[in-house]
């Protein structure tokens, strides 16, 4: 083969380029395998909940305990740093627009169950600077703790007080760690996730399971035949702070 200097340099250059690019193929090939949803998962376009306080009242504490045990929610023991996914409060705290001075004993002293409303127009998602909080395609307001930088904008934005911040390492405050679910770390807020991890396995949320008298109804708001829509069509229901326009998806029968 006739080889002059020009040709030699050309071939040398091409070989050097090839050798330097070759490892990139491994990186660009990405991860092997495919992803699929669990076939047993409960499916919906827009998960929603109706809390029927008339039926739920005896099971309220059981609901809270079931949720907090399932999700490794710590019991910090002081109100200032408390962490909660689901809790109880007075009518006039949860429904300030509906409450008035003369509410009377029956409703004035009753403790109502409260949790994240998984709003259709969630303020927390809008303010999150890292998109750590987002709306999943089945209508659940989810958190990706890996992305959270702990700025607490979401806590300021949420008008329902549904988010709690981990001011310290929560692990020492968890009585019995559920080995199937992660804990959180210091510096991230947390809240109810409508039991997305249970829905994915075909189970109803822990609180729904714990409400033995059917006090919590869970279903698809976009399915006209769902249990939730049947209740909404037949009973008078209210929501927390409708005037704010967040469109909560937790409804109450008081």
């Amino acid at each position: 083969m006739d080889m002059n200097r020009r040709k030699f340099l050309k071939i040398g250059g091409a070989v050097a380029l090839g050798l330097s690019i070759a490892p990139a193929g491994k990186v660009l090939a990405g991860v092997k395998g495919n992803y699929a949803p669990n076939p047993e998962a409960l499916k919906a376009k827009n998960w929603a909940m109706v809390i029927d306080m008339k039926k739920l009242e005896p099971d309220v504490e059981a609901c809270i305990a079931a949720c907090h045990k399932e999700h490794n929610v710590p019991d910090i023991g002081n109100k200032k740093e408390e962490v909660k996914w689901i809790w109880t409060d007075d009518f006039n705290h949860l429904f300030p627009d509906e409450a008035h001075e003369r509410l009377g004993e029956k409703y004035g002293k009753k403790q109502f169950l409260a949790l994240c409303n998984h709003c259709e127009n969630p303020a927390c998602v809008r303010v999150c600077p890292t998109k750590a909080t987002f709306k999943s395609k089945d209508g659940i307001v989810m958190m990706d703790f890996h992305r959270c930088v702990g700025c607490r904008y979401c806590m300021a934005a949420c008008p329902y007080g549904a988010r709690s911040f981990n001011f310290k390492d929560p692990r020492p405050y968890i009585k019995e760690i559920n080995p199937k679910y992660p804990t959180r770390t210091m510096g991230v807020p947390e809240k109810c996730n409508f039991c997305a991890e249970r829905l994915a396995k075909g189970l109803l949320p822990a609180c729904v399971e714990a409400s033995k008298n059917g006090g919590i109804i869970f279903g698809d708001l976009d399915d006209p035949n769902s249990e939730v829509n049947k209740v909404l069509n037949s009973e008078f229901t209210i929501q927390r702070r409708v005037s704010l326009g967040t469109k909560p998806k937790v409804f109450y029968i008081v």
């Binding site: 990405g30 991860v31 092997k32 395998g33 495919n34 992803y35 699929a36 949803p37 669990n38 998962a41 490794n72 987002f134 999943s136 395609k137 089945d138 989810m142 990706d144 703790f145 890996h146 692990r171 760690i177 080995p179 199937k180 679910y181 992660p182 804990t183 959180r184 770390t185 997305a196 994915a200």
Partner: protein
């Protein structure tokens, strides 16, 4: 050579200081750890292979886990299907640790050797937390 005595002593001192880290490592360093596969779950397997081939898992497990996280949390896809059709739940805590229940001798052995401190275990519950 002028001042050969000083120059040679100086060179020896310089070479000594310059090569000190290498000499220290050669004397004290132990070999790379061999991650232990001795758990009841792995011993029960007929072929001791992870969900993908060992080479790939050794060099890319962190990328695999990062991709799993996005698939599970963002897209709601919780099942990993390998090219030959085996299915696994994508979960560090429930799937990886089920076989690799010896986190201290498997994960930590290499991570400590390589001085990497993955923050996975700040939230995901390792076996040492449950004791």
């Amino acid at each position: 050579m002028y001042n050969s005595r000083n120059i040679i002593i100086g060179l020896i001192i310089f070479a000594g200081i310059f090569t000190f880290p290498f000499i220290l490592n050669a004397v004290t360093a132990s070999g790379a750890p061999e991650p232990s596969l001795d758990t009841p779950e792995i011993n029960a397997l007929s072929a001791k292979e992870c969900i993908l081939d060992t080479d790939y898992m050794t060099s890319n497990h962190m990328e695999l886990l990062a991709d799993w996280k996005i698939a599970v949390v963002r897209d709601g896809n919780r099942i990993f299907v390998t090219d030959d059709g085996r299915e696994f739940e994508m979960s560090l805590q429930n799937t990886c640790l089920e076989c690799h229940s010896n986190k201290a001798d498997f994960c930590d052995a290499c991570h400590n050797y390589a001085k990497v401190e993955p923050n996975c275990w700040d939230c995901h519950v390792g076996p040492e937390v449950l004791k």
